[in-house]
Symmetry: C2
Subunit: 148 residues, 2 copies
């Protein structure tokens, strides 16, 4: 049984966002920001719709969370995202001094971990592989459909 | 004499943007995007005003240029920015597949060049040190005032 505030519980919420992206024809990546066990931002990838490479789920979620808290720093927040953040998003998470990052599927090609954890703020905690299969299955489904 | 379409000419335009940031109490960084010798986007750092770490001049300029061209890729564009882009902005420039990046002052602490040119797209051309003194003087003036 999932406890209410487990990482899996929150990753499921990020997966819901990724599913919205999928329905809208976007690469299915979703993110949420949690502060004191409350979800303060939900976002999904919108790069196609907005014709904007910066409209990744994480960037939109960081902006929304900062807006909610009226603070550009997010040290008491956790970002849950279904896919390993890219270099751009890791850079944004570093500036935000986010407390914790939890991601699902790995992204060996574009993920920030090619450069190691140093791209994040030294105080940021990192967890990954949460609901990895569900997160990567969604992406595989999208890319398989694209090839047909 | 400056020719109309020289890098210095366009960097002066980016410096104008940085001056607006200075007037508004922001870290003075400005950027413009040029396509076929036409300025299609002008932006300055707005992280304080928007309480948003992602509101760097480059990110706003990329979004504005993509919006202008109705394309998320910018292979025929040059971004002029007064300060060496950070990792986040280099990541965004990579996704945008921007044709060329020209920056003024170096940023040894937060600049992307710590990781080398590989953070940019392989096809992106890079130039730096254009009007370096003017660009860095503006930043020094800002930080000196801040310390008083």
């Amino acid at each position: 049984m999932l406890s209410v505030y487990s990482d899996s519980h929150f990753m499921k919420q990020a997966l819901q966002q990724a599913n919205i992206a999928l329905e809208e024809g976007e690469i299915p990546v979703g993110a949420i920001v949690v502060c004191e066990n409350q979800i303060i931002a939900r976002a999904y990838n919108q790069t196609e719709k907005l014709h904007d490479v910066t409209a990744h789920a994480e960037i939109i979620a960081i902006t929304a969370a900062a807006n909610f808290l009226n603070s550009k720093y997010l040290p008491d927040c956790t970002l849950y995202v279904t896919l390993e953040p890219c270099v751009m998003c890791a850079g944004a998470l570093q500036w935000a001094q986010i407390g914790r990052v939890v991601y699902g599927a790995a992204d060996d090609k574009r993920g920030f971990m090619r450069f190691g954890k140093t791209l994040l703020h030294p105080k940021t905690k990192l967890e990954y592989g949460i609901m990895e299969e569900e997160c990567s299955t969604l992406l595989k489904t999208f890319f398989e459909k694209l090839r047909k």
